[in-house]
């Protein structure tokens, strides 16, 4: 057993040593957590940072004793105030959960029970550890809601989860976690599903709450910046191990381990705009295949090219008796009006990258889908080089191949039943960009151009990782030889190091192919890095637009100012960060 890596000035509240949690898999044990040691002092905030698969969440669930079968803790010790938790009977563990250690999850909508009122859910959590009468239950519940700054708690207590917004739901979950004043709260990506501004609020409130209550916190996140803004100490995890740990400021400004350096260097906020990240990691050597013929109506670089004129998209509530009946019975939700677009004008110049920034419900994705010709606007027009992008009529169809799209989720955007070769050649063949004989070679060229092995053409999507799939999706869009590419959150579901590679690839291909990009994102730092101009959207309208530099330096609109202020920041580096040399 290895000793905890920190000298303990105070006696530790939680002491985890050499923890190993494994899951049996098809090819032997998956060592999700493989020898992790750390300790948490009373009232301390420990940030655990890592990419997906690093074992950070499993570590959290191991501590609270909620590892899903058939996973198990094979070795190690978890000591809470000196008492060993591993091997405790379930009933003993239950008495600790919620009372001494509690937990907050990523998605509050999934964590809260949709058919029980908030009051009932709080009551069940209270009654788990105390015998109290109904009157006191109600008082305590109201106090708990007030504590997490929910207005009118006397009324809201009878609400159901769906009646709250995402941020409010997470506040309810936090209220439940804090009910019994636990000594330790484990937060597993608690702000990841929330908008930036809500995230900032929750972060600062959480910080205040734990310091008021003297509660220790384990804050698990993939996001270095949020961890930096809340944690006293940080542990960096990678494939089941803690590779580096120490005081937050020290780790984030003077990282010792190569992996930590890689994580930090992968952040676009630490590089100058447009620069390749991580020493050009993931940029392929091969050039994309040459475009056969350039259409003669292509304008000069910098001239207006794609013109979006006063587009409106409304999602009609299902009208009529039968429609409503159907939605009622199927339990399906009618499309909400919250992602509508309400009169937007945008001019995209040829060769520029335009960032579209907004929080959820701002209508940015709907705008992107209209720009790409996937859905027709209710009114207004989208024209490329003067030509409409979609046909008119009752069932409008896209009529150009010169705008293509890259989607957010690489696991959903590829048809799992088609081979990569077919996915890449299907469009070009259908539009006669290439002949059937040329197809195999064309596919190989594009695979090489996005940095994949040209021999992958015969494989299926399930054989690739998220980053590789996103490369395939990029190749599919670019193989159509477009002038404009709409990128809808193309890096949002990727780990930072993979995200850096995809950003590099986009930078490279964009300059080689003179592409114009519409880059839709909620991530202000990625937009800053990639975009020449920025449009800020809110509730279906543009609130501010202009050159990226100007907007980030001198925002004019109140909403933009708030958005920028809410952006979590890493502490500025004191000693200069040397470039990472470690493997990715």
């Amino acid at each position: 057993m290895t000793a905890p890596p920190f000298s303990e000035t105070r006696s530790a509240l939680l002491d985890v040593s050499n923890l190993k949690t494994w899951f049996p898999g098809d090819r032997g044990e998956v060592r999700a957590v493989d020898g992790v040691s750390f300790s948490v002092s009373p009232g301390e905030v420990l940030g655990i940072v890592g990419e997906s698969g690093s074992g950070k969440s499993v570590t959290g669930f191991s501590i609270i004793g909620l590892i899903d079968e058939p996973g198990r803790i094979v070795e190690g010790a978890i000591k809470l105030e000196g008492r060993e938790l591993i091997g405790l009977p379930q009933e003993e563990l239950r008495k600790i959960r919620g009372r001494i250690i509690s937990m907050v999850f990523q998605d509050p909508m999934a964590a809260l029970n949709p058919v029980l009122s908030i009051g009932t859910q709080i009551r069940l959590a209270l009654e788990a550890h105390e015998r109290i009468g109904p009157k006191e239950v109600r008082e305590r519940a109201i106090a708990a809601l007030a504590q997490v700054r929910i207005s009118e708690p006397e009324r809201k207590i009878d609400f159901f989860p769906h009646q709250f917004s995402g941020g409010m739901r997470q506040r309810v979950a936090i209220a439940i976690a804090l009910l019994h004043r636990p000594k330790l709260v484990i937060c597993d990506e608690p702000t990841t599903a929330l908008d930036v501004s809500i995230q900032a609020e929750i972060l600062s409130e959480m910080k205040a709450l734990v310091s008021d209550l003297g509660t220790a916190l384990i804050w698990i996140s993939h996001d270095l910046a949020t961890v930096a803004s809340i944690a006293d100490r940080v542990a960096v995890m990678r494939s089941g191990h803690v590779v580096e740990s120490g005081p937050a400021l020290a780790v984030l400004t003077r990282p010792q381990h190569d992996y930590t350096k890689t994580l930090l260097n992968a952040l676009p906020s630490r590089a100058s705009p447009g620069e390749l990240l991580l020493r050009s990691a993931g940029v392929p050597d091969a050039a994309p295949p040459a475009r056969k013929e350039v259409p003669d109506d292509v304008v000069a670089l910098g001239s207006p090219y794609l013109v979006i004129n006063n587009v409106v998209k409304t999602f009609a509530k299902p009208a009529g008796l039968f429609a409503r009946l159907q939605f009622g019975l199927a339990g399906a939700k009618p499309p909400s009006a919250s992602n509508a677009v309400d009169g937007v004008d945008i001019v995209l110049n040829r060769g520029e990258v335009l960032g579209v920034v907004g929080e959820s419900g701002s209508g940015k994705s709907t705008l992107g889908r209209m720009a790409a010709g996937i859905i027709a606007p209710t009114s207004g027009s989208v024209r490329l080089a003067g030509q409409p992008v979609m046909s008119s009529g009752t069932m409008p169809r896209k009529v150009t191949t010169r705008i293509q799209t890259i989607f957010q989720d690489p696991f959903a955007s590829l048809n799992g039943r088609m081979r990569i070769g077919e996915i890449l050649s299907e469009g070009p063949l259908a539009h006669r960009l290439i002949s059937r004989g040329e197809a195999p070679n064309y596919v190989r060229q594009w695979l090489a151009a996005v940095g994949l092995d040209p021999g992958y053409a015969n494989r299926f999507p399930h054989q690739f990782s998220g980053g590789q799939r996103q490369r395939i999706a990029i190749a599919r869009a670019l193989a159509m030889q477009p002038d404009v590419v709409v990128c809808d959150e193309p890096v949002a579901s990727l780990d930072v190091s993979i995200q850096a590679q995809i950003i590099n690839l986009l930078i490279r291909l964009r300059s080689e192919l003179d592409l114009s990009l519409i880059f839709i994102s909620h991530d202000l730092s990625v937009v800053r890095h990639l975009c020449d101009r920025v449009v800020i959207m809110r509730r279906g309208r543009i609130v501010e637009q202009g050159a990226a530099e100007a907007i980030y330096a001198r925002p004019q609109n109140e909403y933009t100012k708030r958005l920028l202020a809410a952006m979590p920041m890493l502490p500025r580096s004191v000693a200069g960060l040397e470039p990472a040399t470690g493997p990715l």
Binding site: E69, G98, S102, V115, A125, A128, F160
Partner: protein, 323 residues
């Protein structure tokens, strides 16, 4: 809530009207509607008088109105076979069928759901596997064959249960019920078990599937993280969540159990509606068929209405909008 209720009631009306049109058209499509009302060996005079009485010389839409009018007055004509008013005939048989169906459905739900929840809670235990094996058998064995086996084992081989009939009944609110006497109850057990088997297996499977999925969900994990005991989680969180699909299926299956009662009643000589309808199909006693179909349609709409309302009570997402 009131709007919702109104919608459903309105929809129920549409269904009943649609069903009456369907039955009306069906009866007319088969041939001369006169045949539906009088026996084939009736004399020409009787035929003529019936045609005049029911207005078969009138245009179709007037005939339909007349048909509806008779429905409202529950005048379905006379059964050829039993030679009595159909409405009386059906009303005399209905309680027996309802008793049998209710017994079966209640047994299936009250016993099936807890068993299914257990199997979903511990999906890999030996007992759960045994439960699932039995439920897939129960799901697959045709009702009639299971009935035969019940009779053979319990009535013929061991002789401990009666093979058929309703046994001694007690009058309650003017109708006869079996379940209040020991003899009647013993007559009820086998048919109810027989009729319940399929629904019982179905409830087990549904409850298991729902519980199994939910046990892996964040909702249950979060409840566990709050220290709530497993029993409370199952009783308050899981049961509440799975009850929504269960109630839906319960409603659908109540109707289908009512229909399948035909099989059980035939095998166990249970004097209910089912035997009546089979007899009327085989003996072409059409007035009885028409009445039966309309009654079933009415019952169905009622059940659906009740299910929809329960559904709305169980799922708050259907009740109020976002605050």
């Amino acid at each position: 809530m009131f709007g919702f209720l109104l919608q459903r009631a309105w929809q129920a009306c549409i269904v009943v009207v649609a069903m009456s049109v369907l039955v009306f058209c069906g009866v007319h499509a088969v041939g001369n509607p006169v045949d539906v009302l009088i026996s084939p060996d009736a004399t020409q005079d009787i035929r003529a008088s019936v045609i005049a009485q029911y207005g078969f010389d009138q245009p179709l839409w007037r005939q339909y109105l007349g048909f509806v009018g008779r429905l409202i007055h529950s005048d379905f004509g006379r059964s050829f076979v039993y030679n009595m008013p159909v409405s009386e005939l059906i009303l005399s048989r209905l309680p027996a069928t309802l008793e049998l169906t209710l017994a079966a459905v209640l047994f299936a739900s009250l016993v099936g759901v807890p068993i299914g929840m257990y199997a979903g809670y511990r999906p890999h235990s030996f007992v759960s596997r045994a439960i699932m094996a039995l439920s897939i058998l129960g799901f697959s064995v045709p009702t009639f064959w299971f009935g035969l086996m019940l009779i053979m084992i319990f009535a013929v081989q061991c002789g401990c249960m009666p093979a058929g009939g309703r046994g001694e009944t007690v009058s309650l609110f003017g109708t006869e019920f079996s379940f209040l006497t020991a003899d009647g109850l013993s007559h009820l057990v086998l048919p109810a078990l027989n009729l319940a088997l399929f629904k019982f297996s179905l409830m087990i499977r549904l409850a298991r599937a729902g519980t199994r999925e939910l046990m892996l969900s964040d909702t249950v994990k979060f409840a566990r993280a709050a220290g709530i005991s497993e029993f409370t989680i199952l009783r308050r969180h899981v049961l509440r969540l799975i009850s929504i699909p269960l109630v839906t299926v319960f409603g659908l299956e109540f109707g289908s159990t009512l229909a399948f009662a035909v099989v059980t009643e035939t095998i166990f000589s249970w004097p209910g509606l089912g035997k009546l309808i089979i007899d009327s199909i085989t003996s072409l006693d059409r007035p009885v068929m028409v009445a039966y179909l309309m009654l079933i349609a009415l019952l169905f709409t009622l059940i659906n209405l009740v299910v929809d309302l329960t559904y709305a009570l169980l799922d708050p997402r259907l009740r109020k909008g976002r605050a």
